[in-house]
Structures are given as C-alpha cells and as structure tokens.
C-alpha cells in the first residue's frame, strides 16, 4: 500500500516538475508547480511528518502560489523565442542535469549510511505532530525561529519598497 502511494506521489511530483520546466506558458508552469507541491505534501505524509505536510499545503501551495498566480496574471504572457543566444547552453544543460543527478545519487547510495535500505526506526506516535515541532521550535531552535521572523519582516518591507509606485514614474 505504501509503495503504491509513494509511486503515485512520486509520479505526480516528477510530472509537476517536468511540467514546470517544459510548459511554454508561465501560467501553466505555475499550475504544474501546484500539482508538484501537493504531491510533495503526500510524500511528507508518507514520512509521518504531518506538520510539514500541512505547512506545505497551507503556506506553499496556498500562499506562495497565490502570489505567483497574481503576478503572472499581472505580468501576462511571456513567450520565449526559440533561438538560444548562449552557445552550448541547450546542449550542456541536460548533460549537467543528468550528471548532477547521477553524482548525487551515487554520493548518497554509496555512502556508509547505516539506515539506507531500511525503513527507519520506529517512531513514537507524536512524531511529526505540530506539538513536537512547536516544542523544538521554541526550545532548541529558538534562535533560528526568531531569525526567520526577522527575515519575514525584512521581506515584507522589501516588497513594499520594490512595489512602490514612485512619483516620477509614468504609467
């Protein structure tokens, strides 16, 4: 059962990813990404990380993707020409992608991690619950938590500054 769910989600994720990079219309790429995100949430659930899955759906697919949709709608269509100005890019990019994948896989698979090949230790019932994550956030990782808050503040200020309509700018 688990395998089926895994492969279904994996396919969804992969399909979304390929859709992102392959679709001409950026709006379709956004939609493909949303599919990808949902599939990832499913995978997180399979890994008994409930909170992260929920955060993924709510924050990522919910908020961030909505932002994307808005901007795509505002900016509109972006058709890309077929001609590639950088020589060798179209050839090297897939090669490098494959190389990257192969290397990373080999790096992980041939490492001496003991847990590979196993399902992982048996975890308690509250593993991945919001309570557990919350406790970690407020006890062990308080500093990163606060730093992340400041980062959010900065991003908000930055966004306002960037999007500010200046007086001398003409429409």
């Amino acid at each position: 059962m688990e395998e089926v769910l895994f492969f279904a989600s994996a396919l969804g994720a992969l399909g979304g990813a390929v859709g992102v990079i392959a679709m001409r219309n950026p709006f379709y790429s956004v939609l493909a990404l949303i599919v990808h995100l949902f599939s990832l949430a499913a995978l997180f659930l399979l890994l008994t990380s409930a909170f992260v899955a929920a955060a993924q759906v709510v924050v990522y697919a919910g908020a961030v993707m909505v932002l994307y949709v808005f901007v795509v709608a505002y900016v509109g269509e972006g058709g890309e020409s077929a001609w590639e100005p950088i020589p060798g890019q179209r050839l090297l990019a897939p090669l490098l992608g494959i190389a990257l994948f192969v290397e990373l896989s080999i790096a992980v698979l041939s490492s001496s991690l003991l847990a590979l090949g196993e399902d992982g230790p048996d975890v308690k019932a509250g593993f991945g619950d919001p309570a557990a994550i919350g406790r970690l956030l407020l006890e062990k990782f308080l500093l990163p938590f606060e730093a992340a808050s400041i980062l959010l503040l900065l991003a908000a200020v930055g966004a306002i500054v960037l999007a500010n309509r200046r007086q001398e700018e003409t429409t």
Partner: protein, 99 residues
Amino acid sequence: MSIEWYIVLSALLFATGAMGILIRRSPMVILLCLELMLNAGNLALVAFSRMVGNGEGQVFAVIVMVVAACEVVVGLGLIVAIFRRRLPLNVDDLRELRG
C-alpha cells in the same frame, strides 16, 4: 519504503530544477524552478529526519519554507518592477552587467 527512494527522488527533482534554470528564459519560470530545487531539498531533509528519528530535519524544512516565501516575495517584487519599467522580461536581454 526505504529512505533511499526518497533521497533519489529528491536528487532527481533537484536536477530537474537545475536544468530548468539553465534552459528557461522567463524570470518567472526561473523562480518556479528555484522553488522546485528548494522543495527537493525539503524532501531530503524530511526523509533524513524520518531516518534519524528526531524532528530536527522537519524544523529545518519549516525554516526553509519561510526563507523560500521571503525569497519569492522579493523576486516577484523585482519582476513587477521590471515589468513596470517596460523592460523585456527576458533574462538574456537584461545583461548590462558585463565585462
């Protein structure tokens, strides 16, 4: 499923995102590919967290999500600003910083 499946899947998604950055020319889509890579990283983190048995990887993944959100905000703001100034939304055409 044993962990290595998730790791390999994460690697594959990461490579796909990288390839997308190299190929696509619209800044929007490049940002989307960046999201792909970040999510691949998240998947790996959560998988390792499950492997180790404590929730630290998941906390890391949450923080990564926060960072991704901030980055998206700023990146989209940039795109909007570029669009407002009537510059072409094409990464190849925005190349004034060259030697």
